[in-house]
Symmetry: C2
Subunit: 365 residues, 2 copies
């Protein structure tokens, strides 16, 4: 349970899916000794084959005991976490045990219910992932530059939290300390609520006539982009974070009722739009700017011809104007796309537009 | 009022903002004679200076009458449309009059209330625009490849509708015919509802603590992207399309109540996510594919260094793998970005990833 300067503890990863295996890869790369365990021995073997560590088992010294584990990282599916953490706290009476699930309160509560030794438990949540699952999609750099929340509680000692901060640091993550309850509220606000709202809006498209869909522009696409999500995973997440999610949904329900009640009042409607505009500039923006900037778009018509994007960016680079963001919208009938280069400021955007037009590109409004 | 083959009518554009001036530019480029009028004579003069037509006024022949107008296109702000269209129907007893506003029902109703000659009126809505306003941002190609809705009603004759279809065709747009009521429902469904929902969700961010905002990922950003909209414009749009918007908001209100009522039931929650996933694949996708494909992302870490995007796309082109979509996400602290290249298929994505890694780029999960 040493802090920054001490020797690395022998570490056991329980659950070698995408997250567990990636943690194993990251810690192995940092020189730690990592052991791997999974409900399915073949999955643990696959993780070991990828270089995430060695399969955990009895020591070769004949004692029948395994290696002396100092840290256990539990990375099972969400619903199995409390049970597995409790089991590991019992199996390894000297170890610090952490988990990496996306909802923290239920794990802590589950441990208390089971009378487990929560003084050796530190909940955490590395906010990383990919659309892949299982050990084969794992990467040592999965957690680089990601936010890693650590959720200390009353009954643990600081050295154990410091150990998990050390793990997060080795993985390249940025630590944010929040209580379990605060963490669960935060993810309900910035992740779970948007997901559910996006799904609700997208679900209505099932009853919109095809002719009406032909009027759809980029706005509805943005709002419904994350609706293409995994029902099984989100069923579990909502089940675990139910009360925080319920509070957020009830908040939106109230806001929606207020909007409907005031719909005849143009001033009230304007206020809703203005408030939304204010809220969105509060999202963290680029490189430490506190607020997301609203950039000036330069739109260029492009074809599928090979090398088009390469030539556009070569020409754009020559102008010396910095491109902050990039997006492509595809035309629904003609085989063209519209490439939007976002520029910080009206004047540089005008310069870029003029230069690209001079280079022969077709600018769109 | 001739159809496709006949001589072009002398055309008057009333309201030379972005849309009106762009129409003037497009029709002038097509060889039509276009006259311009605006409540502010300086704005009309600016539009004429851009090449959108000539300022409308008494003929030089001393008769005191203006040119013989065959078509009037009214492009004033939304709330002024019915009054202006009625005025033009009276001023030009031989002309077809159309408007280009984003809500159609109230214009027709306003004309009937005023006892105007609706047999010469054809409502339409070219679905184009840009973040700019006023004549100086106008472009002749503003309407190319855009959807242009024409909303014929019972009391007009087909030749007049055909004339507006001809105008839309000259501007490069694709015509969709919908009744005024259907049009207003359609834009409520695919444009107005997503805008208001996005604004509601974004508005809640004003009360989310800064530390919680640091957990925000791409999902909340997608859902709230269009919240950065103009309160004045949207106040007018909602005021004009109030009942269709109300119906959509009440629909979401019901869906939200159902979700809350079933929140304890994991199967019910999974069904909401699954339904949303289904709905979003109904949005028109690329080049005539009926359904938006869910692509495979290849994520590359990039810096702000000039030429980075150019070199990436040069390397990507060499791989021969087609890039379907592009997006950039900015890191909140380090001066790096994550460029996501979307590829159609796991195998080509793997090939692209391998080739870019071999070329020295840093791939992210």
């Amino acid at each position: 349970m040493s802090g920054e300067g001490g020797p690395a503890p022998e570490t056991l990863v329980v659950g070698t899916g995408l997250i567990g295996t990636s943690l194993g890869l990251a810690l192995t790369a940092a020189g730690w000794t990592v052991w791997l365990e999974d409900a399915n021995p073949e999955v643990a073997a696959a993780a070991a084959a990828m270089g995430a560590g060695s399969v955990y088992g009895p020591s070769g010294d004949g004692s029948g005991a395994g290696p002396a584990i100092g840290l256990v990282i539990v990375a099972t599916p969400p619903l199995a976490l409390a049970e597995t953490v409790a089991g590991c706290l019992a199996r390894f009476p000297a170890a610090t045990v952490t988990d990496v699930g996306s909802v923290k309160g239920p794990v802590l509560a589950g441990l208390r219910e089971r009378g487990a030794d929560v003084t050796r438990y530190v909940g955490s949540h590395p906010m990383a992932g990919s659309h892949r699952s299982g050990p084969l999609g794992a990467r040592a750099d999965l957690f680089v530059d990601r936010t890693w929340v650590i959720a200390p509680h009353d009954h643990e000692d600081y050295d154990r939290t410091a150990l998990i901060e050390r793990v997060a640091g080795l993985c390249g993550s940025r630590v944010v300390l929040l209580s379990a309850a605060e963490h669960d509220v935060a993810v309900a606000q910035v992740s779970h609520l948007p997901q559910l709202i996006s799904s609700l809006v997208a679900g209505r498209l099932n009853t919109v006539p095809y002719q009406h869909l032909s009027l759809a522009g980029q706005g509805i696409r943005d709002v419904t982009r994350i609706a293409a999500s995994d029902p099984e995973l989100w069923g579990q997440i909502v089940a675990l974070n139910r009360e925080a999610v319920r509070a957020e949904l009830e908040g939106v329900q109230q806001d929606l009722a207020d909007l409907l009640a005031g719909l005849d009042n143009t001033t009230a409607v304007r206020r809703v739009i203005a408030r939304g505009r204010e809220g969105v500039t509060g999202l963290p923006g680029k490189h430490g700017r506190d607020h997301a900037t609203i950039w000036e778009p330069v739109v260029i018509e492009i074809t599928d011809a090979p090398g088009t994007l390469a030539r556009i960016f070569a020409d754009a680079t020559r102008t010396g104007v910095n491109v902050e963001d990039v997006a492509i919208e595809h035309d629904q009938v003609r085989e063209v796309g519209y490439l939007t280069l976002s520029v910080d400021g009206t004047e540089p955007a005008a310069r870029l537009a003029a230069a690209m037009a001079a280079a022969g590109w077709k600018l769109r409004a």
